[in-house]
């Protein structure tokens, strides 16, 4: 079964969604992310959706689920790279993505995560090399 790769980026995890998601893939991603957040003590999850041509309620629910689980594990979820046409459509569809933060791109998303967690843990040595 194919799975969506999860990369470690500082103390965050980066997921780039490049394929059309379907049920099994979404479920696998939710599980994999949960495990990796715990394993790496990650403070953030960046989900790059710049390749997605649409976001429907199925994807919306997946993003909401990931954000909810991450929050319980003390990690922020930031969705990055949403296309403008997708953003417009999402609003009309009625998806609020209430628990999900968004940023323009991966760099901005990382900044957001650092701002939220960096300030609280300024004295903790962050491993930038990994």
């Amino acid at each position: 079964m194919d799975r969506i790769p999860i990369l470690k980026l500082g103390d965050a995890l980066l997921v780039t969604i490049q394929v059309d998601m379907h049920d099994r893939l979404a479920t696998a991603l939710e599980e994999d992310l949960t495990n990796r957040i715990v394993k790496h003590k990650a403070h953030g999850v960046l989900i790059d959706i710049s390749a997605l041509e649409i976001v429907d309620s199925f994807i919306g629910r997946m993003l909401d689920n990931i954000a909810a689980v991450s929050r319980v594990l003390d990690a922020d979820t930031v969705v990055v790279g949403m296309r403008p046409a997708v953003a417009i459509t999402l609003v009309e569809l009625g998806l609020s993505l209430a628990g999900v933060r968004t940023a323009l791109n991966v760099e901005r998303g990382m900044e957001l995560i650092r701002l939220r967690h960096g300030a609280a843990e300024r004295d903790v040595d962050v491993d930038n090399a990994s």
């Binding site: 041509e53 309620s57 919306g60 997708v86 417009i88 459509t89 009625g94």
Partner: protein, 134 residues
């Protein structure tokens, strides 16, 4: 009249839903719809195709390119022989779901379309027509 003849596609698997999205996108581009309008009709199609699969037990979608005196667009008809929808106004309410969804598919697809018509009979399946014009 329409340039490309109508096309009926099966909706039996989650891969079919992906294929439907691609075909709707092609039609929308052919009809000259702008990027936002393309995105709207493809998103609506994705919602309805998934409903056909999840609640209708599978079915079909018929895609047609429409041309009304030079005004072009795309029309989609989703049909299944599933259990039907007992209360359509209720099903069209934001947040109403009998599955574990967000309850946004039907109402959202309606908002994303210029035309929306739904027919359903208890035990007699469901038929949803949407259209988006340029």
């Amino acid at each position: 009249m329409s340039t490309t003849p109508p096309d009926t596609l099966p909706i039996r698997t989650s891969d079919d839903v992906v294929f439907v999205r691609q075909q709707v996108r092609l039609r929308a581009v052919q009809a000259g719809l702008g990027l936002v309008d393309q995105t709207k009709i493809v998103t609506a199609a994705s919602e309805l195709a998934r409903n056909t699969l999840d609640y209708g037990g599978g079915g079909t979608v018929t895609l047609s390119s429409i041309d009304d005196n030079g005004r072009r667009g795309v029309r989609l008809v989703f049909e299944d022989q599933g259990p039907g929808i007992p209360d359509i106004p209720l099903a069209l309410q934001d947040g109403y779901t009998t599955g574990n969804g967000l309850g946004l598919g039907l109402s959202g697809a309606k908002r994303l379309s210029n035309e929306f018509r739904i027919e359903s009979a208890l035990g007699g399946g469901t038929r949803v027509m949407i259209a988006r014009w340029k």
